[in-house]
């Protein structure tokens, strides 16, 4: 059976084509202000990689913030259920999932049969999310991956107090003005996010593996910070940013 899973996130839109539970193509694009058009474009790109056509697909499942706007989808599912499905498919055991996306950071616990036991998400503000990191990277005149590279070279990470994105930006600007090294500021930003994630993790089972996914899992500095602060080892599956899209395709 051929299925497409499309995760229309607040920042990025991801698509996977799945043949009998195996991913055969992946595509990604920035959601922007016209997410339905981008979703269409990303789906086309994935289909072309797989040398397939719309008509070859048995099912299209959409997920993510824009799940309801994609009219081509046969089914919709929330990103929470989708990521749980994908992670259980890979891990085949109960675990704690950390998903750092553009607008949300989620912690989800699944049991030994893949059922969600409980989940927690960040409050409505952007602190602790991918968007927050993008904004801070902008202040340091780099991108989100550049920010991660800077953080890995820090010798003395600064302690950042602000939890609000806007105030954190002011704090970062003021640190730059005081000649603080960019590397130490970057590491401080990752520590601030990691500390919020570690607090969320404390609400869940401590004796299960922790799986880190979402766009945030592509940044090694963030993984390091979470591991250090939570004192837990994180596992990152292949293509962590595509797991939600993959899970949605597995669901129906």
């Amino acid at each position: 059976m051929l299925k497409a899973g499309i995760d229309i996130g607040s920042v990025m839109t991801k698509c996977v084509i799945v043949r009998d539970e195996t991913v055969i193509a992946r595509a990604i694009g920035r959601s922007g202000t016209m997410p339905e058009i981008i979703a269409e474009k990303v789906l086309k790109e994935a289909l072309s990689q797989a040398e397939l056509d719309y008509s070859d697909l048995d099912k299209i499942v959409s997920t993510g913030y824009g799940r309801h706007i994609f009219s081509k989808a046969h089914f919709t599912i929330t990103e929470i259920s989708a990521v749980a499905k994908a992670v259980f498919h890979i891990m085949k055991t109960g675990c704690l999932i950390i998903d750092v996306g553009g607008q949300d950071t989620k912690t989800i616990e699944i049991d030994g049969s893949g059922e969600i036991v409980d989940f927690l998400m960040n409050d409505k503000c952007a602190a602790g999310t991918g968007r927050f990191l993008e904004m801070m990277a902008g202040v340091l005149e780099t991108d989100i991956y550049g920010l991660g590279k800077l953080a890995l070279q820090a010798d003395k990470p600064v302690l950042l107090n602000a939890t609000c994105s806007v105030f954190a930006e002011s704090e970062v600007v003021s640190l730059i003005a005081h000649n603080e090294k960019k590397e130490n500021i970057a590491a401080g930003l990752f520590n601030a996010i990691a500390s919020r994630i570690a607090t969320m993790m404390a609400h869940f089972n401590k004796n299960v593996p922790v799986v880190f996914c979402g766009g945030g899992a592509n940044i090694p500095a963030l993984k390091n910070s979470i591991e250090k602060i939570s004192n837990r080892k994180l596992e990152i599956p292949e293509y962590p940013q595509f797991l939600v899209a993959f899970g949605s395709a597995l669901t129906f």
């Binding site: 913030y65 599912i77 929330t78 990103e79 929470i80 259920s81 607008q103 949300d104 059922e115 969600i116 036991v117 409980d118 989940f119 998400m121 409050d123 409505k124 609400h203």
Partner: protein, 413 residues
């Protein structure tokens, strides 16, 4: 000294208030929107009542008394022929107006109340009863005192009946004496009994509606239910009883078609027009079939049980219903609250609990983690959300509610 100080403060505030007033038509539009969703013709009168509430025509003998919280005994006001008006409000427009008087990081209910008072919405009130149930209300009593005559009713923060019954009886008795003197009436045992009869009749009707909604939540939808609750804030009780009885009679003949998961809504109260939570729950295909909230269940579910048919006996009975029976987190201890939630879910075979935290109402939020853990141990699906009157988090709330529905449904399979 305090009065002089507060009057001066009031003068400064009034001088600085902006002249722009909130756009109130929004509320009528909201009422119309929910009226269209109603499947009951008997609900029409409730929706019309919301509109007419903005044009109160006060006769010379009418005495309107504003109050907050379920711990204020309406029965004492009714016995004195006064018209109680519950003022708890969740209006976004008035919250903005309130921010001209109070800082932003204050309970939004308090801000919207302040906004209304300082913009003369409540000129028709003859007295306002403010209870000391939570910290912001305690300060509210002071802040409103230059604008209106305030009676501060402080029950303390412990609802254990045996420890406090004499203290509360004295508190209510003093309040009753104050009312009788201020409004020159001779109310006593007979008037109190009549008032209790009215509120007990309301309890009887409310319980029928509450239990009907547990079995068939869609025959009186959540919007209709919360509109009925909101109208009870200001409508004459006898009139409300008659109208609610008609709604029950019409609804009980209908058949439930809903197959959606049934949830218990607990936590902060939902007050018209702030129906965002109800709207998003409906979009996520979750059916609110029961609630544990102070404005509805907490206020109406228990009757006044009179053991001793004397004036002081009735007043004692009122303290039992209103203070000892309060479900406000400022009064009720956590163990009792958790047990109430678990018992309700088990008794009515509900599918899960949504716990709504109104942002900046810290007492509700403080108990969230304990409730979450205990319900998890009891294998009851639980979701807590935090929100306020703004609309910007609708997408995020929807994701949480839909995921919660998916969890419930996959657990049932």
């Amino acid at each position: 000294m305090q009065k002089k100080f507060l009057n001066k403060y009031n003068e400064i505030i009034l001088k600085n208030l902006s002249s722009k007033k909130p756009f109130l038509n929004d509320e009528f539009e909201q009422a119309l929107k929910y009226r269209l969703k109603s499947g009951l013709s008997s609900m029409d009168d409730f929706y019309k009542a919301i509109e007419s509430n903005f044009r109160i025509e006060k006769t010379q003998k009418d005495r309107y008394i504003g109050y907050f919280c379920s711990i204020v005994p309406e029965e004492l006001l009714i016995a004195c022929c006064l018209k109680p008006v519950r003022l708890c409000c969740e209006e976004y427009a008035w919250t903005n107006a309130g921010e001209e008087i109070l800082p932003g990081d204050i309970c939004p209910v308090i801000k919207s109340i302040c906004g209304k008072f300082y913009n003369n919405v409540y000129d028709y009130l003859d007295l306002v009863i403010v209870p000391g149930t939570c910290d912001p209300k305690t300060k509210l009593a002071e802040l409103l005192s230059p604008v209106k005559e305030i009676y501060f009713l402080d029950p303390g923060r412990n609802s254990d009946y045996l420890d406090n019954v004499d203290k509360w009886t004295a508190l209510y008795t003093k309040f009753f004496e104050f009312l009788k003197q201020k409004f020159q009436c001779n109310a006593g045992r007979k008037q109190l009994l009549n008032a209790c009869k009215l509120t007990n009749k309301r309890t009887e009707i409310f319980k029928k509606i509450y239990e009907l909604r547990i079995k068939s939540p869609d025959v009186i939808n959540a919007f209709d239910y919360y509109v009925m609750i909101y109208v009870s804030f200001f409508m004459d009780i006898e009139q409300w009883n008659n109208m609610a009885e008609k709604v029950y009679d019409e609804a009980k003949e209908k058949h439930s078609l809903s197959k959606k998961p049934k949830i218990l809504l607990a936590g902060s109260p939902v007050i018209f027009p702030n129906f965002k939570i109800l709207d998003v729950l409906q979009q996520a295909e979750l059916e609110i079939s029961s609630d544990i909230q102070c404005t509805s269940f907490g206020r109406f579910y228990n009757p006044v049980v009179i053991d001793e048919d004397t004036e002081s006996g009735i007043i004692r009975a009122l303290t039992l219903k209103n203070i000892a029976g309060s479900i406000c987190p400022c009064l009720l201890n956590l163990e009792k609250m958790v047990n109430l939630i678990i018992d309700t879910v088990n008794q009515y075979k509900l599918d899960g609990v949504v716990y709504y935290n109104l942002r900046l109402c810290q007492v509700f939020e403080t108990q969230t983690t304990v409730i979450r853990q205990v319900l998890k141990e009891n294998k009851i699906p639980f979701l807590s959300v935090k929100s306020d009157f703004g609309k910007e988090d609708i997408g995020q709330l929807k994701t949480r509610f839909e995921a919660f529905r998916e969890i419930i449904q996959s657990g049932k399979e």
